[in-house]
Symmetry: C2
Subunit: 309 residues, 2 copies
């Protein structure tokens, strides 16, 4: 019996942050409710970052205020500095993703800090959040390669994982922010990270930038990873990484997982309705779900008895 | 030391056959020469099929006549019936892919014959080709799922492999024509097929229709497969399968293989030039190489020192 896979939907944060359009807060809340109806138990709803640099997330506090009350769903927000943690505490969110980059160049562009300075601030951020009853995922960005620096030293990643654990986080997440990771590397590194993390859950955040995202999912499953981040329609990308596009799509990932025999309790037809709404607002080039691009999803939505497995 | 992987470029056949434009024979030959310069040792250049149904391949004999003389490159053509073999013999090609479908419904649409009738004709086709000094790849279409019939019985596939071997083919190829295959299925089936084929080489033809194509490459490598079909720019699709699109892209597949540590002796920058030429002729929606879509390939072509690995 294969394990249940926990999916964290990041379409509302990673998916929207680089788009040329702004989604109003009522629509965001409508989509949160649709994601819950689709079976998602983890939803990253926003980030508390510089609203001048990422205007799409400037309504973060309002999003948190309007979230539905659901005890069995974890809502998360991304923060990159102490100020973000303070805003998040004030907004009343109960779970945070606190992330630092494994690339100095990316760290300076994304958070205006070196890795060393980020580690020091990370420790203070975690302490502040924990003191306010917030649970924390400690993330590592650019863990499998940097578009500016190339290969990232694997030992640096393991050191950052150890650092995060010592800070007191409840969960570790590695992000292939650039989509440069490859399946053999992902399997090897995730085996090692899981060993270091021991009982602490480990999640993986993948992009399909170079068409390796889904192969990396399978490689991570081989390493025992059971938590993945995805975004509806394969939207997404970091504003501070060249050519950073496309999270692995929720629809395509869940379809893959179900075919392999894993359970997710997610209904991809329901997730797909949000992507269809996005398609109406966007140039189709922003959609990175093959099931959508190839028209297979439309059949699923319009004829629920169509068998694509 | 990981093995060398043999890539058969199918862009000129599978890639062009469903496009809304016609490529003239001089351009096709120019692209053959570019593919050879890029290091390809196997190139499927055309098919001898009904020119009324697949007009893009109506210049098949002319393409064969104009091929450059290259002793270290194998040029192949696809045929589906005795008439195709006869035309291929007359054209003077030395290697043929003779393919039958594992789905009755697809077989009737694609070749106007049931599987049983196809098997009988296959035996006669192989005998005729062998008698004329032609080497043969025996192919099985829709080996991992059919868009009309759903799941395909695995035992039927193994029986067809056995049938092909007994007919005297020099190579076996399984095609995931619909892109419905998944990595666990591909690994399991390719292990079994390689066992049945014994010393006879086994190739795999994959489509990325559902975003599983590259994960299926890695799964097949695990099963010991060392031959794959690809198409420049991820073009391709069968005219007789609903929503059949996108072979795995030569550029993305070779990039993945090189990252994993395999050799191919293929220069993806050179392959990419053909895709760039196609982009100038086509709506960009036909391009399915992530390296191209995300603009990474342009950097490779324009700045050969850019490190994307």
């Amino acid at each position: 019996m294969l394990p249940n896979i926990l999916i964290e939907e990041q379409g509302l944060r990673d998916g929207l942050q680089t788009l040329p359009i702004t989604i109003d807060v009522e629509t965001k809340i409508e989509w949160v409710n649709m994601l819950i109806a689709a079976g998602l138990k983890r939803i990253q709803v926003t980030s508390f970052v510089n609203p001048k640099l990422v205007p799409q997330m400037s309504d973060a506090a309002e999003v948190i205020r309007l979230l539905p009350k659901k005890k069995d769903v974890v809502f998360s927000a991304l923060v990159l500095n102490i100020k973000g943690v303070e805003r998040a505490i004030e907004a009343g969110i109960k779970h945070l993703s606190i992330s630092i980059s494994a690339s100095n160049t990316h760290s300076l562009k994304n958070a205006n800090k070196t890795i060393e300075a980020s580690k020091e601030e990370f420790t203070r951020m975690v302490a502040l959040a924990l003191a306010n009853g917030i649970t924390i995922r400690g993330g590592i960005q650019c863990a499998f390669g940097c578009r500016y620096e190339g290969v990232v030293d694997e030992n640096l990643i393991y050191n950052l994982v150890q650092h995060h654990l010592e800070s007191g986080v409840q969960e570790i997440a590695l992000a292939d922010s650039t989509g440069m990771g490859n399946p053999y590397q992902v399997k090897r590194m995730m085996q090692k990270v899981k060993q270091i993390a021991n009982e602490t859950p480990v999640a993986l955040h993948l992009h399909n930038t170079e068409n390796k995202g889904y192969a990396n999912v399978v490689a991570a499953l081989d390493a025992g990873v059971t938590q993945f981040d995805t975004a509806f329609g394969g939207l997404g990308g970091c504003p501070f990484i060249k050519n950073a596009t496309g999270n692995i799509a929720t629809e395509d990932t869940v379809h893959l997982l179900h075919q392999l025999g894993y359970t997710t309790n997610i209904n991809i037809n329901e997730v797909s309705k949000i992507t269809l709404a996005m398609e109406a607002l966007l140039n189709k080039n922003n959609i990175n779900s093959q099931l959508h691009i190839q028209g297979l999803m439309y059949k699923l939505v319009n004829q629920s008895n169509i068998k694509i497995i």
